[in-house]
Each structure stands twice: as structure tokens, then as C-alpha cells.
Symmetry: C2
Amino acid sequence: MSEQQSLDIKETTAAAAAADPWYSAYADRTLQMKQSEIRSLFAVVNRPEIVSLAGGMPNIDGLPLDYLAEFHARMVRERGPKVLQYGSGQGEEPLRKAICEVMRPDGIDGNPDNIVVTTGSQQALDLISLILLNPGDVVLAEAPSYVGALGTFQAYQADVRHIEMDNDGLIPERLEEMIAQVRAEGKPIKFLYTIPNFHNPGGMCLSAERRPQIVEICKREHILIIEDNPYGLLGFDGDPIPAMQALNPEGIVYLGSFSKTFAPGYRLGWALCPTEFTQRLVLANESATLCPTTFGQAAVAAYLSEYDWYEQVQKYREVYRQRGEAIQKALEDFLPELEWTHPTGGFYTWLKLPKGIDGRRMQDRAIANGVAYVTGTAFYADGETGSDHVRLSFCFPTPEAIREGIKRLAKTIAEEKEELGLA
Amino acid sequence: MSEQQSLDIKETTAAAAAADPWYSAYADRTLQMKQSEIRSLFAVVNRPEIVSLAGGMPNIDGLPLDYLAEFHARMVRERGPKVLQYGSGQGEEPLRKAICEVMRPDGIDGNPDNIVVTTGSQQALDLISLILLNPGDVVLAEAPSYVGALGTFQAYQADVRHIEMDNDGLIPERLEEMIAQVRAEGKPIKFLYTIPNFHNPGGMCLSAERRPQIVEICKREHILIIEDNPYGLLGFDGDPIPAMQALNPEGIVYLGSFSKTFAPGYRLGWALCPTEFTQRLVLANESATLCPTTFGQAAVAAYLSEYDWYEQVQKYREVYRQRGEAIQKALEDFLPELEWTHPTGGFYTWLKLPKGIDGRRMQDRAIANGVAYVTGTAFYADGETGSDHVRLSFCFPTPEAIREGIKRLAKTIAEEKEELGLA
């Protein structure tokens, strides 16, 4: 941390303390929570004249609304007092059984007894952190990693160590080196957090060759793996590489979500857990919310059993494939001199900026030019690394808007280079 | 803690450690979480031959299902892509505005900007604990207090101090004495947690005279009040005594819930916060779940604005009034020699057992006789105090079932007395 930043934080803290009569009552962990760079962008990027390549909102316009309207009505009319009542802290059994079917394309043969339904997979991350993290414990994560996970780890005062990736995902040798280094420091490593498919923000997949290697290293070192897989079914060309979970079910917590393959509005995700871990997660779930939404669970379970949900997933794949191709083509046309990742699924491309350009510094200019992105610093625990990259989301805007957005980004970069004298 | 209990816990711990390969990775707080006595009862009390006076499930059979079915269908058809999308971490504005109307009968003139929508008010309790509690910090609570709140405080390793109540609720002098005692120990007091209306499990209300006294004490001592009010609108005879929140909005977090006045199945509650506290809670909410269910929020907001929700509340009042009268009458008829509370609203009566009878010891006999209750120990942080009381819920069974349940309870107590030689 630079001296200026340290001063900035002290000033912010003093101002916050003066403004907030309850400041002195806050727990230590609270003073570490800060608004994510993505969330603070949201107010700006929702303006209609901006092409937002910033947010990660899924594109759900293709949902079968007439069918959904009909089945919601039927569900309320026929089972209202049940689906509007409290439910189980683990989640309702029909949904847990249906989830096992949803995990099959990932190569997982899951047991409903080991599934805990959560309020989005974000809550699973939160509860797993609650269960595992004492202040100062080490969490291993990819470099870069998902901003929402990093925020949660930070709220529990974890010491996050980032591990290098390449186009095949997390590098096993770098993982081994980091484990050795942390062990030498005498600090406890609580888990490896990884997004093996269509990484957020990186876009790459962990290769089939590396999956057993990563599992083997963590097994040998007795490190739990949190395998976060919200995008796995959204490969442009078909089902994903089989999940690591299948290689070591008692050593991996696998996280799934309905937010991208169905819709985020119910806030439902799940964790498939090692057997004994399941009960801990149920207890934590009850302590946090008593139970996940019964109504939402009934709706998702009915959708999964009545509707051809896999066909809907295939429609989504096509939507994102078109958008993924649009962003690649636009980057080739407008920014051919730069480097970026070439995802085969998911929502994101990771763009390396020209030498000397800082994504944070350029942001106001980008907004003024009508395009928004998220600077790479959001995806590192220190909030410093990553200013030389930006995350570009291609999930929400139309292909035409994406092309226009990249054109504006190219203009922005050109202007920034000129101002900084980087010819 | 007795020596035997200490041994029991050590044995349980050793067994858990042997069975669970991840035991050594758990955070300190996790080892304090245990299944609540209520939750572990649930498997038993759902058997149809048992009259359950144990659970706190609201009675929602009277909901207007045809209307609800129609408006859910309309909502999905007309606004599907919006209500099924992600939302704001603070909660959607139409719902926050509607919540201000719902709080008016409580005497509250709230500002939507100070409201944070949460996944049930249980989650508000969880996030407030996350924000405020370092391990060992003191939380003040009534004696007895809500089991779900105690579980959450325990998960954050709080030191809970119970304060005596009488039929007018929390006793101001006892509160002052406890504050002085804790201050003398040099420990930080983070908040007072209180349920002023139709207390769970006590059934009593904090009197109008005492409300300003409690507020004044906490203001003077700079102690935040968490005013939990899930039952306030469910007085048998009308609106509640005005909330404490109105007496000191910047010193009180007021918690409300739709679980009892509408339905629990959406898992939606809210916190009305002191101004600066609001942003902390929004950040914690985002870290925990990104946002509350957009779909559920849209449904509740539509219900509140389109439907005569207050008329529905009045119907619920009548349902609970009948049940409340049924349990009072049955207690007078079958257990006239005992003492219990006489609530004028809510879900619960608090029954003192005959001298020498232990509610936990008697529980198996009660189940065998076809009636379930929750022993008072569930409502004390030490898990020990309160074995001489039971909580009787009158919210869910019919008046006839309630009468039968109390008859069975009287038989159980008589048998227990006989076996113990307590004539």
C-alpha cells in the first residue's frame, strides 16, 4: 500500500467515524468491507446511452413466459399453502433430486442428501467462509478471481493468495509453489477457490489434463476445493469438461446456480458437499435465513421436472455464442494490436491494455465515450493488481451493441494513449 | 456446565472429529453452532398423530389463492424478464416504499432510503451480528429470548446476557443493572435485542410506559437497540403499542417480516436502519446473497399495492384470536393449578411447569402421549436455564386440536408427577 493510499484510508475512516454514531460499535471485519468496483459502477452503466460491457447480468429474454405464467398460477392455486410456508433448512427434496439431474452433464453423480440449497451460490460462498475462516486464514484463488467471492473472503478477514493461470486455467506447479510458500509461513490454508469453466473474469477453462492434477495436489495436501461452476452449462458448443467433484467427492464442495441457466430472480443456488460437511452447511443456512425460499424452490423444481430445461440451456448457449463471436470479431477489427482471451463459453473476455494504460484512470473517459467495463483491480484481493486489464462482459448487450461498445473502447484507448504520449 | 455435560461435549467433539475429515479446518465459531432444539423436534412433530404446540409456523390457509394465482401469472407474463433478473442489494424501491405503509400501524414514519430488504428477518439478524460482533462482545436479550436469534449470536461467538421480564416485558431497572455489571467487567456491549410485541417465547408486550424508559437508557449508554417485531400486527384486538423506533430512529434498527402477516415462502423481511448503518447493511447483504429475491419482492410489492393487505391481517388476527382463546380456555380447564402468560396477540404462551418437573426429561413422554412443545432451555443462551418452562404455540393447530393437545399435556404432567413422586 502506498503512503498516499494509506493516508486516504485513514481520512476516509476518520470521516466515516465522524458521520456514523455507531462506527465504534462495528466488528473488526466490518471495517474491511467495501463496495465492490462493479456495484459502484452500476448507477452509471444503467444509463441507456452507455453500452455496458461491465455487468454480468444473464440474458433471460428468451424464457418461455407464457408457460412460466401458467405454471406459477397453477402452483399457487393447487399448492399455495404449502409453497408459501416455511421449509427445510437443507432445501426441499424435490428440488434436491432435480439438481442431481442438472449436474449430470457436468459428469456428476450426486446424492440429494449431500445437497444444500442456498440463496444463490453467493450465499453458499458466504456460509462456507463462515464455517471455515478464522481471521488471517489463507484462501487460495486464481489470479484474477471472482469479485463477489473475494469480497466475501475479505469480510471474513481471509488472507487471499492468488495463483497464476494461463489459457488452460490454474497452473498446477504454481499451486504447489504457493502451498509450499504458505506452509513455510506457518499459516493455515483453508481451501482452494476455483472457477474451472469459463472463468470469471478470465474466460478460460481448466483443461481436462490439469483437473486430476489439481485434485491430486489438494488431496495430498488435505486442502478442500470449492469448485464454483455457474457457467459450466453455457459452453458455446456443448457440455463442459467433467467436473473435478467427480474425482474426489469427499474433498470438494461443488457450487451450482440457477441464475445463469434459468433465471437469477429466485436467488437459488446449491452446494454439493462432502458428507459430514453437509450438516455444518445446513446449520449455517438455518442460522442465516432459516431456509431458502420455499416458493422459489417449488417453482424451479416444477420447471426442471415439467419443462425441457436442457433445451432452454441450448437456446441460451446459442445466444451467448453469438455474443461471444461478436466481441471477438469486434476486438479483431478495432483493437487488433491487443491481447485478450478467447472463451468457448460463459460471459467474459479478459483484455490486456496497452503498456502504460491504467483501466481505472481511463474509466471516466470510457463512460464519457459511452462504454463501460470493469477494471482488473476488482478481481484481485489487494485492489491494486490488475489495473493493466479490463473485464469485458458479452452476456447482456446485443451483438450490434457489443460491436459499438468495442468501437467506443478503441476510441477511448486511442485518446488515452495520445494524452499520455504513448504513440 | 456440569462435569457430565462437559464430558458429553468432549466425547461428541472427538466423535465428530473422527467422522469428519474436514473437522480440523473449521473456524472457531463453527464449533459453537449446534442444531436448535426446535429444529431437531421437527422430524417428530410432523407425524399426523401428534398435536404440535412446538413449531411457530403461521397459519396461511386463509390466503386469497385465486387472486394470488392470477397476479403471479400476470406478473410473469407482463414483467418476466425484469422480475426474474438480479436486483439491488438494498432491495427494490417499490417494495421499500410499500414497507413504509406497512409500518404505519406501528407508529413509524419510515424513509425508504433507510430500509434494507433481507432474506427473512432472520438474515437481518445474521447480518447485524456480522457487522457488530467481535468474539466475546456482549449482547443483551430478554430472559427468555428467540431461539433463532440466540443461535445466530452464538455463531458469532457473542456473550449473551439475559435480562428479566415480567408481564409488562423487559424490566428497565434490571436492564440498567446488567449494563452496569457488564461495564464493570470492562466488556463491550454491542446491542440490546428485544421483541417488544407478543414476545417469542414469552407472549407478553413491553408496556407503553416502559418503551421510552428503555429507549432513554440505551440512548444514554450509547447502546444500539434491535427491535424485532414480526408479530406486532397480529394483536387480537387491533394495532400494537407504537414502536420504540419512532422514539429514536438513529439509535434503533427495527426488523419487520412478511412471514407472519403475509406468507413465509418468499423469505422476505426488512430492517429500518439508522442512516449511516444502512450502507453497512447493504454491503453485508451484497456480500451474503448479492440481492434478495427479485421475484419475491415484486410479488410482495404487488400484493401490498393491489390487495387490501390490512384486511388480510385482520383475518389473520381473528384466526389467532380464536386459537389464543382456545389455549387459554384449555389451560384453565386442564391445568388450572399452573401459571402461564396471557398474550393479547402473537403465537405463544409460556407455561411454568410444576416444581420438580423438567421439560426436557418429560419430552419423550409427551411425544408418546401425542403432544409436542419446546422446553424453555431452547430460549436461553446457556442451554440450561428454562427447563422449568415450556413454550406452547397456538398458531398452527385448530382450536379443537389445541384443546386436545393441552389435555394430553395435562395427562403427561400428571404421569410425570406420579413417577417422580410429586403428589
